[in-house]
Amino acid sequence: MQEEALIASCRTGNTKAFERLVTLYEKKVFNLAFRMTGSLEDARDITQDAFIKVYTSLRDFRGDSAFSTWLFRIVSNMCLDELRRRRRRTFMSIDEPIQQSDGEIPRQLADPLADPEQAVERRDLKRAVHEAILNLSEDHRLIIVLRDLQGFTYEEIASMLDCSLGTVKSRLNRARMALRKALQDKELFATGDVKTGERGVGR
């Protein structure tokens, strides 16, 4: 395929070829990062870092998986790293007062519901889904984004996440269940889509 020629050309240092690769994939990369982090700012950083990393380590890419698989494996890992880093950062203190030279002051956090415009938007289905996805666990979020937003096949996902097909199947199933529950909790499915809910499950 033409992509292989592009990659070969990149390895000789052809930045134009690399630019074409970036053009091919930047949207998907950016969107994966955006859905994973929920922040355009972080998505931008991750996209940049990921492509720069791809460029510098192109020599390590042996071509035993598709380029896209390799690329999205890097991006996925960067997203997870970013989330991990963020967790470390924010775990420190929300209730802990801020220390100042002349004593301490209570920490003030913005109330996301305070903005009336935002509150209205909350009812918007797409926004709600976006947020519900962001509230999933990292593993669930990643697999939902890869499969249901980006449309990768089970095989591709298994290769990206370095796990078996069976794992992809079961993890995706659990992730979708979790997402559905989150959406139901927000009463987004109250419009007759789901009538039966949990009733009658043979447990």
């Binding site: 630019e19 355009l40 940049q48 460029y55 510098t56 889904v129 249901d148 789901v194 009658g200």
Partner: protein, 386 residues
């Protein structure tokens, strides 16, 4: 018939048609009889469908520009990003050891900068800092690739020359030379000697940048000239000045700015590549806010390029034209030259003293600074690890 629980584990794969035909059939037959599982399937389908409705967001245009700007500044070598850290560590170590050795030997690291001090003591401080800096490292690191470089066919050719910049060997050394000379001339000849000094400068193709005359309290006349002469005439003019009278003091120092010059050149080229790239983006900008964004960035880069170019020009002119500061002084009556005293002189001495103290303080601190720097770098590396 399958149990509900087992069926529910496979519903997701069923939706995606990822089941073997026998599994699929088993599920379908269960669904036909189990409304709860059917509802479950519907809600999962709806979930998947709703996810599919999320639109992709557009990538900000500056993302690709930033990627490409960064990529052009990189070579394909592995582990490249490790270099700046190691270089920084090495540089800190070298400086620290240098100062440490200097202090240990009882050498005042500030000696070369204390011309006046040395003049009084009748000696010139040992030169701790050699006037010609050690050869800078090869410049391949961080040198931008040629922005004009377009086709794949050119790729290999382009790699063989150091991208976009003169090979190091052919860059002339940029050395800024400065001299400070004090010459005593017989009483009454000051004006004549000054005129001759100016004529030496002009004959060598130089010019007088500044000149002044004044009279000391003792009634002695002094003339000061700051002259710029072509670099190759530097020594010649200095020797000619010596012929004007009795040389009382002479300090020559030179500063090698080759490395700084090359770095700056690379920086400018990098920035210009970025600028060209941004102009391309400008053409593709779709709305006013994009244009504004790019415009802002362009302005910032342009300002940086202008400033850097200015400094390049300064280096070029400073290296091409050496500076000589000549002071001509009438001979005083023997023994009448008193050591300088007075309020301002005391202030000057106090200032020198504090500079020395500060330098010693930094020198003593150096080993700990190195440790701190190492720790800091390790911390940063840890944070930025990916």
């Amino acid at each position: 018939m399958k149990e509900c629980l087992e069926v529910r584990d496979s519903l997701s794969a069923y939706i995606d048609d990822e089941l073997a035909w026998d599994e699929r059939e088993a599920i379908e037959s269960h669904l036909a009889e189990c409304p709860a599982c059917s509802a479950e399937l519907e809600s999962l389908r709806r979930t998947v469908q709703v996810c599919g409705q999320l639109e992709e967001v557009e990538v900000p245009t500056e993302v690709r520009a930033a990627i490409m700007a960064s990529v052009r500044g990189k070579s394909l070598a592995r582990k490249r990003r490790f270099f700046p850290v190691m270089t920084a560590v090495a540089a800190v170590l070298v400086v620290a050891i240098g100062i440490g050795v200097g202090v240990g030997l009882g050498v005042n690291p500030l000696a070369p900068f204390q011309g006046k001090d040395a003049r009084l003591a009748g000696r010139e401080g040992p030169d701790v800092f050699p006037s010609v800096a050690p050869a800078p490292p090869p410049i391949s690191m961080g040198v931008p690739s040629d922005p004009q470089f377009t086709t794949a066919a050119e790729a290999t050719k382009d790699q063989t020359r150091v991208a976009g910049i003169q090979p190091y060997e052919t860059v002339l050394r940029m050395i800024i030379k400065r001299a400070d000379v004090l010459i005593e001339v017989p009483r009454g000849t000051l004006q004549e000697m000054e005129r001759r000094a100016v004529s030496f400068v002009e004959a060598a193709g130089g010019f007088v940048q500044r000149s002044s005359t004044w009279e000391e309290d003792t009634g002695r006349k002094v003339a000061g000239i700051t002259a710029r002469v072509p670099e190759d005439a530097f020594t010649h003019v200095l020797n000619q000045f010596d012929g004007l009278g009795k040389q009382k003091y002479r300090n020559v120092d030179s500063e090698d700015v080759t490395e700084r010059y090359i770095d700056l050149q690379a920086h400018v080229r990098n920035r210009e590549a970025q600028e060209a790239r941004l102009r391309e983006i400008m053409q593709q900008a779709k709305n006013v806010s994009e244009i504004m964004q790019v415009e802002n960035e362009l302005q910032r880069i342009r300002a940086d390029i202008d400033a850097s170019r200015g400094r390049l020009r300064y280096y070029e002119s400073a290296a091409a034209m050496s500076t000589i500061t000549l002071t001509l002084r009438e001979e005083g009556t023997p023994g009448v030259t008193p050591p300088p005293t007075g309020f301002w002189w005391d202030i000057y001495q106090a200032f020198l003293g504090s500079v020395k103290a500060l330098a010693m303080f930094v020198a003593r601190l150096a080993p700990y600074l190195v440790l701190l720097a190492l720790g800091g770098l390790a911390f940063m590396a840890g944070r930025r690890r990916q």
